[in-house]
Structures are given as C-alpha cells and as structure tokens.
C-alpha cells in the first residue's frame, strides 16, 4: 500500500500539464497566484462581491493585473507582452489560478483579452499594432492612457445568444464622400457585457442594415467617437461579482477602417473581409478553454479545505479527546466522506487534464492554422466551402497520419510519418478534428458536470458550506460555476457543436485509435482503469454507428440534428470518456518524467499509486455514465432485438469494472493520511 505524502505541488502539476520546461509559464502561474491569493482573496473576504456596482475596491483588481503582468499577457513581445507565440496555455493557467479563489476575477482578467481577440485573430496589422500595444500598461517614461476593451456580442432578449446568426445591432453608412473613407453609423444595445464600467473601446458585432454594406461584421467603437457611448445599467447578476457587467447602448459614428479585418469596396458596396460569425468562430474556438478550466479550478481548490474540515470536525469539544480517532481523524473515519471527496478530486483532475490538453494543442494549432490560410491564399482557395473541399482531399493522408501516430515506436513507418508530418494541411486537419471535440467538451463538461460536483463540495462541509465564512468560498464557487456553464456559449450550444464534430470521420478514427491504445495499455499491466475506459469507448463507437444507421418505428433517422435526445446525450457521453482518458495520459507523463525530477522522484511511488487509483475511479465513473447513456439510446429507441453485439460489449464493460471500488478504498486510505498545510493560503 502506497502513501500520498502531500497534496500535489507545482512540480507535479508542471509535469502533468507539460510546462515543466517552460519557465515563462511557471512565472505567469506565480504571478497570477500572488494576485489571486492576495488582492482577490481579500476582496472576497471583505464582502466586495456583495454589490452589482463596480467600485474602487473592485477596480484595485485592474491595478493588480497591470502590476503583475497579467494585462500584458495576451500581447506579443513586440506589442509590449512577454511571451512569444501562442498563449492559449498561458491564458488557461492564469484563469485556473485566479478562479482557484474567485471566478469573477478570472473573468475580469480574461474579458480584456476577449475584447482584443477579434482584433488578434482577424484584425488588420494596423489594428493589431494599435490596439494591442495600447492595451499594455504604460511603461516608465510613457505618458499615455491605457486602453481597456469590452467584447460586445450578446444583446437583450429575444436575441441574446452567440449561436444565433441574427443580430439586432446594426451598421449603416452615415456618410460617404467620394474619394474619402466612408463613415459608419453603429447602433448596438448590449446585454451582459463584461468590462463595461471601465472600458474605453469595444469590439461590437453588428449586422448590415444598408445595401451599401454587404454583410455583418465586427466594428471597433471608442469612447470618444461622436454619438452615444452609454455604459448602461449594471447587469443584476448574482455571481462573478468581481467582474464588471453592464447592458450598454452604443450609437456612434466611426470610420469604416474600424471594421475588424478591413474591407474592400466592390461595385459601390463595402464588403467586410470577415463576417461577425467568422470572427466569433475563430475567437470562441480558443477562449472557451479557460472558461472550462475556471470551474475545474474550483473543484481542485476545494480538496484541501474539505480535508481540513473533515479532520477538525470534532476538535474543540468534550466529545473527542486528543489522541482519539474521533479527534485525530474526524469525519475521515467515515468511508463516505473519503469516497465522495475522491469523486470530486478525480473529476477535477480529469477536467484539468482535458482543459490543459486542449490549451496545449490549441497552441500547436494556431501556427498551423495560419500556415493553412497562407497555403490556401497562395492556391487561391477562398471561402469556407472551397477550403473544406480542399481539406477533404487530404483526408486519407490524415487518417494514415493518425494511425501511424498511434503505432508503437518500433512498429511505425518513421519515414512515412515524417513525410505526413511535414504536410501542414495534414496536421491542421488532424488537430482541427481533435480540437473541435476537445474544446467544446471542455467547455461543456468541465462547467456542467463541474457545477454539479461543486454542489457536492458544498455539501461535504455541511452547513458551513453555505456560509460566507466557509474557507475556500464554496458557496460563491458553486454559484459562479453556473455562470461559467453559460458564458461563451451555453451547454446547448456546446452539445450542438459536438453533435456535428464528433461524427467526423477523422475524429471517429482517432477515437477508435485511442481506445486501441488504452487496450494496449491495459495489456501492459497499467491498473488505472484503461480497460474499462477502452471498452466504454468501444461501446460509444458501436452506439454511434448504430444510431447513424438505425431508424425508429416511424422510419425517422435516430442520429439527426433535430433529435437532440440522441445527439446531445452522445455529446455528454463523449465528454466523460475523453476527459478520463486524458487524465490517464497525464499520469503516464508523470510516470515517465517524474523520476528525472529530484523533487518528485523521492515520493513518486506514492504519488503515482494514488493517481493511478484516481484514474481508475474516474474511468469507472466515466464508463458508467457512457454505458448508461449508450444503453438508453440503443435499447430505448428500438425493440430490443438484434443487439447481441451491443449487449456483449456492455457486459464486458461491466466486467472490466473489476477492482475499481478497491482502487477507491486504497485512494481513500491514502487521502486520510495525506499531509496538508496548517491553514489555507488565502483569507477567509
């Protein structure tokens, strides 16, 4: 039996989340942590969340972000930032650290980046240089006002959401003198717009209301533009109170050069280079990852306070004397307390593995996407349809690439793999298929299932959990998680997205290869639930195949976008499976790299023992959820006949649960002995 010495520290996390070699990210983590457990925690402890209005105390967050470098994190060094290259993982780590204490502060930090994201992704070089460099805090000797932005997409009912292509906000030509740049009239009412109390520019999504403007677009409006820049009333949200949220009204005249990404004039019509939908697609593809991780941070942050509460539960009264089990172990004498905390911890770990993997892959994806754009531009392939057709031509290569990647080192054709790897379109298409599942899965599962599990955290500390002085701010975190499930596309949007992307041929093949890899891992003696997870993934694949072919009694297709009882349930199931698998991958990384780390090496046996059991706990849970969903769909829409293959696989899945509860017992025993700090490192 192993011993878990301490809660996992930075050394363990850096290996698992693959930034042990990136000291710039390690510094960003320290920076964000100091703000979170200092400024942010004090504000929450002082009750600053208890108002809708932005105030001076809340504004101290901005100063803290500026001083600690977080405001400049999104920028490239040439623009005043300090990290070269893609920053998805950096932003994910910062969101995680801030949300460890308070989700609203993370939103406040991320919202400025979100405002810049349309400019960063699709803006003209001039727009990028101007806005991104001016959103960096002034350096010593510089005398300028710092820009802070807001991202204005959502609108009051009935428009509201990000999924609709319909916008109430409009753009018209206000004035167009021949030979001069047109002036545009931008009218937009926003709803739930973050950063509105202090922003001095906003990136606004508007539809065309003028035949002289061809499509919708996004436009940059500034505080000093002629017209109305009304910050509006505060949104009466009851969560994320450390972020500024208002419902603004814009009615401004701006030069057409503020159209994000620029425009051309064709036959007397302004043609924006990018519609609002194209820009939003590019932006949200990445920014949803940190939001998912915000809820995950809450779960993992709850572990230490819960252990402390359980251990101290009976101290101080007559009922337990020092030295007695009741005094020393408190509620940790009870199996239920240990098991429920393990469920929470395992889900937190799996969410982190999913989120940080997605962020890491997004960093790999960014340059590939730019290279793909360059290649297509060179070849004259423009527009989404033509690009999709061009990518379809490399599909076979992508499938071959995925298969070669999953082969063992010894068994793969290295020359062929290198050849495929050197084709950016192959790598782009492969990663695109994978990320198009991992990112919405992270947003959907980490927040949705995470919010439910956060309720469990509140419950695990009894009545204390719903009080303001509960260490770890559990009540705030539970309710904040509900908003995180909604931000940047609510759960239904993510499920809809997944219901399309998870049926791509490339993803399905990759998913099958992942299951195959887990089977091989189980065969090698790994005890972390690889077999049960592999069988659950096989079952999901079999179910997907069945659903795509089968029809109901009325002859209607089962897998259809309007049949959300099928598609959305399958989306939920795939999230459980990919997150549990990625936790296993992270633990394998720890096993591989841990021995070379002198800090981790001494205690590695115990840490790995615990994490392997945690993997098994999560794999069993994920397999259980996926198996239930698949069975409901397969049996629920049919007459129960001709399903022998499904029934057999389901039975083998159940059998592969062997030992998973024993793993939970072992992990529980380790949990009862783990050494924790004497006090939480942020205030009550």
């Amino acid at each position: 039996m192993y011993t878990l010495p301490t809660l996992p520290g930075d050394d363990v996390r850096q290996i698992m989340w693959r930034f042990a070699e990136r000291f710039e990210l390690q510094m960003v983590v320290q920076s964000a942590r100091a703000v979170a457990r200092g400024t942010v925690a004090k504000l929450v402890a002082e009750g600053v969340r208890n108002s809708h209005e932005w105030n001076d105390k809340k504004a101290s967050l901005l100063t803290a972000f500026d001083h600690s470098g977080l405001s400049a994190l999104f920028m490239d060094p040439a623009q005043g930032g300090f990290i070269e290259g893609p920053k998805n993982l950096a932003l994910a780590l910062v969101a995680f650290e801030l949300a460890w204490v308070d989700g609203g502060s993370a939103t406040c930090s991320l919202a400025g980046n979100l405002a810049l994201a349309p400019i960063h992704e699709k803006g003209t070089p001039e727009q990028r240089d101007h806005y991104m460099s001016r959103c960096v805090p002034p350096q010593p000797g510089e005398d300028r006002e710092m820009l802070r932005g807001a991202f204005a997409l959502t609108e009051p009912l009935p428009y509201v959401g990000v999924d609709t292509g319909v916008l109430a906000g409009k753009v018209r030509v206000a004035e167009w003198t021949p030979g001069q740049e047109p002036l545009l009239k931008v009218e937009k009412r926003g709803r739930f717009i973050t950063n509105m109390d202090f922003c001095n520019f906003a990136t606004v999504a508007v539809d065309t209301a003028d035949e002289r403007i061809k499509t919708s677009c996004m436009v940059i409006v500034e505080q000093g533009d002629p017209g109305v820049f009304d910050r509006g009333a505060p949104t009466l949200k009851m969560v994320h109170q450390l972020s500024s949220t208002r419902d603004p009204v814009f009615n401004l005249t701006v030069p057409a050069g503020r159209i994000i990404g620029g425009y051309t004039v064709q036959d007397g019509v302004i043609v924006p280079n990018y519609s609002h939908a194209e820009i939003i697609g590019a932006v949200f593809h990445r920014t949803r990852i940190p939001v998912g991780l915000m809820t995950t941070a809450k779960l993992l942050s709850a572990v230490e306070p819960i252990i402390r509460y359980h251990r101290n539960r009976f101290r101080g009264g007559d009922a337990a004397q020092p030295g007695s089990p009741r005094f020393e172990q408190g509620l940790q004498q009870k199996e239920d307390a240990l098991h429920r905390l393990l469920d929470l911890w395992a889900m937190g770990e799996a969410g982190a593995s999913l989120g940080f993997t997605a962020a890491r892959l997004a960093d790999e994806f960014d340059p590939l996407e730019r290279e793909k754009d360059r290649i297509f531009e060179e070849r004259g392939v423009s527009g989404p349809r033509r690009q999709m057709a061009a990518l379809a031509e490399v599909r076979d290569k992508v499938l071959e690439y995925a298969r070669l990647m999953s082969c063992s080192e010894a068994g793969r054709d290295r020359a062929r793999l290198a050849e495929l790897e050197s084709d950016p379109l192959v790598r782009y298409a492969h990663l695109d298929a994978v990320l198009n599942v991992l990112i919405p899965a992270c947003k959907l599962w980490n927040t949705g299932a995470g919010a439910t599990m956060m309720r469990e955290a509140v419950s695990l500390v009894g009545g204390y959990g719903i009080t303001e002085d509960c260490p770890g701010f559990f009540m705030h975190k539970w309710t904040d998680a509900q908003l995180e499930a909604t931000y940047e596309g609510p759960e239904a949007v993510q499920r809809m997205h997944l219901s399309v992307t998870m049926t791509s041929e490339i993803f399905l093949e990759q998913f099958r290869l992942w299951a195959e890899g887990l089977e091989a891992l189980a065969g090698s003696g790994f005890q972390g639930g690889a077999l049960v997870l592999a069988r659950a993934m096989r079952l999901w694949g079999l179910t997907m195949d069945h659903l795509q072919r089968a029809k109901d009694a009325e002859g209607k297709k089962l897998y259809h976008r309007k049949r959300q009882g099928v598609t959305f349930a399958m989306a939920d199931a795939v999230c459980w499976l990919v997150s549990a698998r990625l936790l296993i991958m992270d633990v394998l990384e720890l096993a591989a790299k841990g021995p070379a780390n002198p800090v981790v090496a001494d205690s590695l046996e115990g840490i790995l023992g615990f994490y392997t059991d945690l993997c098994q706990v999560q794999a069993a849970r994920a397999a259980g959820e996926a198996g239930r969903i698949c069975a409901e769909l397969v049996y629920g829409y049919g007459d129960g006949t001709g399903l022998e293959e499904f029934a057999g696989l389901r039975a083998r899945l159940d059998a592969a649960l062997a030992g998973s509860r024993l793993a939970k017992d072992r992990a529980g025993q380790a949990l009862a002995g783990v050494m924790i700090p004497e006090a939480l490192d942020y205030p009550l």
Partner: protein, 267 residues
C-alpha cells in the same frame, strides 16, 4: 555613490510557513517530514535583504543572489523571486534545511563569492538575513564576512542611507526597540538585514523573463557542494515543547490581538 556597489545577497529557501512542519529523523540526520515535497519560499529575512539590495542598486551597481540549496527546489522558488528584483543568481547545489552546519555553509558561500566573475571586492556589500526562518543560527553571515576579510559588520539592519561622499549610515536594531546608528566610511561591509523598510515588490514577469536568461544557465551548471567529512552531527533532536496551534480569526482589532498574545505568553 551607490552606483558603485557590488551587492551579494546570501539567501536560500525555507518551507512555506503555512505548511505542516513535522521534524523527523532520517538517514542523513534530522529533517522535516516530506521536506522535498513541501512548497518553498525565499527565506523572508533574505528576501528583505534582496529587496533592499535591488533598491540600493537601482541607480547603478549590481546585485548577485547567492543561494545554497537543492537546485530543483531553488528553480521553483526563482519562478517567483526572479520577478521581484533584477539580480544574477549564483547557485550552490547543497543542503538548505534547518540542520546544516553554519561553518560548512559559510565556507562554501565565501568560496563561491571569491569565484564570482566581475565582482569588485573593494565595492562589496555583503547582504543577508539577520536571522533565518529555518533555523536561526545567526552566525553564518558573520562567518562569511570574516572569511572574506570584511570586518565592518552590521546586524539587525533596518535602513542604509548612502552619503554623497560614499560613506553610508546604517540603522541596526538594539535592545529595547531602539536603534544603533553607525556611519561607515564605505564598502566593503556586511549587513545582516532585519525587515528593512521596503514592501515586497509585486511580481513582474517581464523582469522575471530578463532574469531567467541568466538564472536557468546558473541552475544548470550548479555543482553539488561536497559534504564535509566529519562535519556537524546531531546527538539528539527534540520536538518543540509547545505544539503550534494555528487559529484563524477574522477582523480582530489590534488591541485584542495584543491581549491575546500577552495571555498566551503568560500561560
């Protein structure tokens, strides 16, 4: 005149004070339970010295941070410390616990200082903590100074003011809450810092990135400090008589905190 100072700050890591610190006896002698796994910080006393050094060198001069400790742990600590002040790191890969021999440590530090390229000993200010958060022998810095032949030594320093003529005035803590104010003609000198007057600077990742360009190579080339044969050994180590009891109390007025402490002392 501060433009000319070459300031070497001696300081290493200690376990994060919020952690559970449980003494145990291991194969190498006394130590703390799970010591390698415990998060570490820069010794707060050395931290004050570093911030004062950086402040003093802001208008010129140079700061080195000389640390002896397990280099993997030092690397983690540097991810935060490197963001707070500009300095060059000199690393000795050796023990940093509360049970190291002050003589052994002082000799290793002195030899390392002698080997620092570009260090002008005539302009040397040797900074460090007056005490340590791990085990306050209070003697290491003095011995380093003695070995380097630096005889002007000040302990419990809270302030240094540099004069136009290159001399400096130092305020040292003395009994009864008073200060001993001395005037020193100039470097070299040893200053063991108390808390100083400066707050901990906020993290600045840009500064950290600049520092890390030198810190990472310094960590990579750090050689293990050979153990001293026949060095210090501990015949016995006892657990503290008074068990630490951490209480978390919210919004307590200072007067009540003082009364509470007084009652505890009397008990």
């Amino acid at each position: 005149m501060s433009a000319g100072f070459h300031i070497v700050v001696c300081g290493s890591l200690v376990p994060d004070p919020l952690q559970t610190l449980e003494p145990i006896r291991g194969p190498q002698g006394p130590g703390l339970k799970n010591e390698m796994m415990l998060p570490a910080i820069l010794d707060p006393w050395a931290g004050h010295a570093l911030f004062e050094a950086a402040n003093l060198a802001a208008s010129g001069g140079k700061v080195w941070l000389l640390s002896m400790g397990p280099k993997a742990k030092l690397q983690q600590v540097m991810m935060s410390v490197a963001q707070k002040a500009p300095f060059e790191l000199v690393v000795l890969d050796g023990p940093a616990g509360g049970f190291t021999d002050a003589h052994f440590t002082a000799r290793a530090l002195a030899e390392a200082i002698e080997g620092i390229a570009g260090l002008d000993r005539s302009r040397l200010l040797l900074f460090g903590g007056w005490q340590s958060a791990s085990r306050g022998a209070g003697s290491t810095l003095q011995m380093v100074g003695e070995r380097l032949g630096v005889l002007d030594q000040f302990q419990g320093v809270d302030e240094i003011r540099v004069q136009d003529d290159g001399a400096f005035v130092v305020k040292e803590r003395v009994e009864g809450g008073g200060y001993l104010v001395s005037r020193c003609a100039g470097p070299p000198a040893v200053l063991g810092w108390a808390t100083g007057n400066l707050p901990e600077p906020p993290n600045n990742p840009q500064l950290g990135m600049a520092n890390m360009r030198l810190i990472m190579p310094a960590l990579q080339r750090a050689e293990p400090v050979p153990a001293e044969p026949g060095g210090l050994s501990f015949a016995s180590v006892e657990l503290p008589k008074a068990r630490r009891e951490t209480r978390l109390v919210k919004d307590l007025p200072p007067a009540e905190v003082a009364a509470d402490i007084l009652a505890w002392i009397k008990s």
